[in-house]
Amino acid sequence: MTDEQSGRGGAPPLLELTGVSKSFGGVTALRDVDFTLYPGEIHGLVGENGAGKSTMMKIIAGVHHDFEGVMKIRGVETRLRSARDALASSIGMVHQELSIVPELSVAENVFLGKQPLTTLGIVDWPRMNREAKALIASLGLDIDPAAAMGTLPVGLQQLVELSRVLFSGAQIIILDEPTSALSPPEIRQLFDVLRRLRSEGRSIIFISHFLDDVLAISDRVTVFRNGKKVITDETRKLTKDAVIAHMIGRGSIDMHMGEDAMLAGDDSKPVVLSLENVGDGRTLHDFSIELRAGEITGVYGFMGSGQIELARALFGKLPLRRGSVKLDGKPVRFRSTAGARKAGIAFLPENRQMMLFRTEPVFKNVSIAILDRIHRLLVKPAEEKRITEGHIKDLQIRPPRTEIALGSLSGGNQQKVALAKWLTHLPKVLVLSEPTRGMDVGAKEDVIRIVKSLRDKGVAILVLSAEPETILTLADRVTVMKKGTVARQFSSGKIEKADLLAAA
């Protein structure tokens, strides 16, 4: 307590939480947490999934208001009842999933719902564009306010959203996983903007899984574990290893997991799927790759480098206009996802919600991809549940119940259910897009173990990711993708994170 108060030379805290607890139907999500945010501070917030970060942010942002404990803003006890309330108390949040309208212009997005009007009551376009430009320029950026939001790179979209929050007068800005979709230059740009905001006296809460980013930008860091605050300390006194140790509460794990890898590409293994100079007419062009049985091929690239399109093309969701695809040496062309599935391709999209049914029970989520194999005509729920129980056991899905709605599982367990869909009958090719993104350390390790065991069973696996750690942890060979095509391939020997970053 005392070290926190002395941290900022005695300036009164902007935001202060004391003894805050919050539970959901008997499950405690947050237990007796104290948290202080000073003016002109960037405060990093880390912890595994489910550690309580999001719950606390939602309390600060006015989403949850039935919590125990005291919240003070500028020394005044406050209880925010809505996001609007929070904004009125100058608290703004930029979510991981940006709430932008891609079809509207940058200026319209900045002023969404509050467009300046002329005396006639119609939108004052010149003024809106001028003010949007000025606002964006105050962040040190040069963006055409008339450009359609959707045409900007994600990094700039995020900064425009940030400027919207600033326009609303936010003094406390909560950033949720702001760097997860950004390339290193974009991260540098974001950090420049954050430092500028800090120098203006605004305070930033920076929530992230990327510890390097947190340690690079924060003044202080708070670590959560199991709904409790473990520590708040000045960043300069912390190391990445120390933060990880606080997060997981164990002595040591392999801290350098994913920093480098020994590749083990084996050209004697048979090629299962090969792409030759394929293109979709837009993002992908002249892309070639070979996937071998019993190997994990990693494709690394920044967001927007064409990985998403590649994955969809392989699963029959996106038509390829050029090049050829061969499965087991025979030319194939998938016109639908059903066709790809029947040919033996399985796909896990980067956003697990895209392949899961939140309100349906777990067993129906698992069985949907194999219904035609277990049922001729009539459904047999007992058989579906039996199969699902096997997967729950193998993958250690918690809670181990087939009948509960999928939406009540944690993110990591949902990801395991998504994987389980494809495991009853082994696919020939498994395409995984960002298989461990946004997962806590424990769930990540489980998924990595599952994927590696599938490889050992002879499945040809393609892992696409914008996180070098994911690629380096999993891959036997690596293709670096840049602007829709192959930038570099690595098939054997030692490879480091820096090699990937340098090639992309």
């Binding site: 996802t337 790809a340 899961l356 219904l371 001729r376 459904v379």
Partner: protein
């Protein structure tokens, strides 16, 4: 039962009309209500499938009309009917009419799944096209004859239930029409397919989360196309029975069936956003609709006011449904 609110609405309406009118709560009238519902019921089965996948079919009534007229067009008409028709044997006429319904369904399915026209607009166009078929086939005339099987199923009596003796001392019966039997058969078959077959599961999953179904390797377009075909076929059968039930085949005679069928499905609690509901809900919805339509005829009020009251009751039923659903989701 997915949603208890429609059942409560139904019970409340029955109680209300029983007190408001002495002639409402009788066995005779109960069968009356069911008889009046049976054509709508057949259409509602197909529409339930469509709405469960989060699509809509606005052409059901027009298709029913067109197919009813088609079957009459291929039947010998009395001399006074002035239609340039093409008489065929009864079973051929029925098959041709069913093929016409299939063709309409396939065009709708193709427009939605292959070309990508939203079902709302596509079926609006098909409604107009079906109306055009009706107009061209009868040219403002009225047809009165249908194949024997259609006449039997549409207006014939399957059996009679004895209910004791009437005031004059003669044995009294309630006749059960074939339309009721056909409607029940459609409802039961519709329910079994939805709840117990793989195809039914796909319909719910596609309606619940179309993207997830597609990423699970389900052929979403095939499912959506097929429900549009099923719906057109149901409408076609309803149309054939309907013209026999009415005793005449002419234009615009099914106009009220579109809203009735949609109302029955939605009042019953099947979600317009797909994935929730089923035939059980549709049966309750049909009964709510039947009780409202029939009950209002049994009480003494301005008949012009009844139209408004009917609308208000349906609106109230929908509001109750939505609130009950929200309560369930938050609780």
């Amino acid at each position: 039962m997915r949603n208890i609110a429609p059942v409560i609405t139904l019970i409340a309406l029955v109680i209300f009309f029983s007190f408001a009118s002495s002639t409402f709560f009788t066995l005779d009238n109960a069968f009356n209500i069911i008889r009046q519902l049976s054509i709508t019921g057949i259409i509602a089965v197909g529409l339930t499938y469509v709405i469960l996948t989060a699509e809509i079919d606005l052409s059901v009534a027009a298709v029913a009309n067109a197919i009813g007229i088609t079957v009459a067009y291929f039947t010998i008409q009395p001399d006074y009917v002035n239609i340039a028709n093409v008489p065929m044997q009864g079973w051929i006429a029925v098959i041709l009419a069913l093929l016409a319904a299939l063709a309409i369904g396939l065009v709708t399915a193709g427009g939605i799944t292959i070309i990508g026209i939203p079902s709302f607009i596509m079926t609006l166009a098909m409604m107009q096209i079906a109306n055009g078929m009706s107009a061209l086939l009868v040219r403002g005339q009225i047809a009165y004859s249908y194949p024997e099987i259609v006449t039997t199923l549409g207006s014939g009596t399957a059996f009679r239930i004895p209910i004791g003796v009437d005031a004059a001392g003669k044995a009294a019966f309630i006749p059960i029409g074939w339309t009721i039997i056909v409607c029940l058969a459609f409802l039961v078959a519709g329910h079994i397919v939805l709840k117990y077959t793989r195809y039914g599961r796909y319909i719910y999953m596609v309606g619940g989360n179309r993207e997830a179904a597609e990423y699970s390797g389900v052929n979403v377009k095939l499912i959506i196309g097929s429900v549009m075909v099923i719906c057109a076929m149901c409408s076609g059968v309803a149309g054939m029975l309907g013209v026999a039930y009415f005793g005449s085949a002419q234009q615009n005679q099914f106009d009220t069936f579109l809203l009735d069928a949609i109302a029955a499905v939605v009042v019953g609690g099947t979600s317009l956003f797909g994935g929730r509901g089923g035939i059980g809900n549709t049966i309750i919805g049909l009964l709510v609709l039947g009780v409202v339509n029939n009950g209002l005829d049994h009480i003494q009020i301005d008949s012009f006011l009844k139209i408004l009251i009917r609308g208000l009751i349906l609106l109230a039923a929908l509001i109750i449904n939505i609130y009950a659903q929200k309560l369930r989701e938050s609780g």
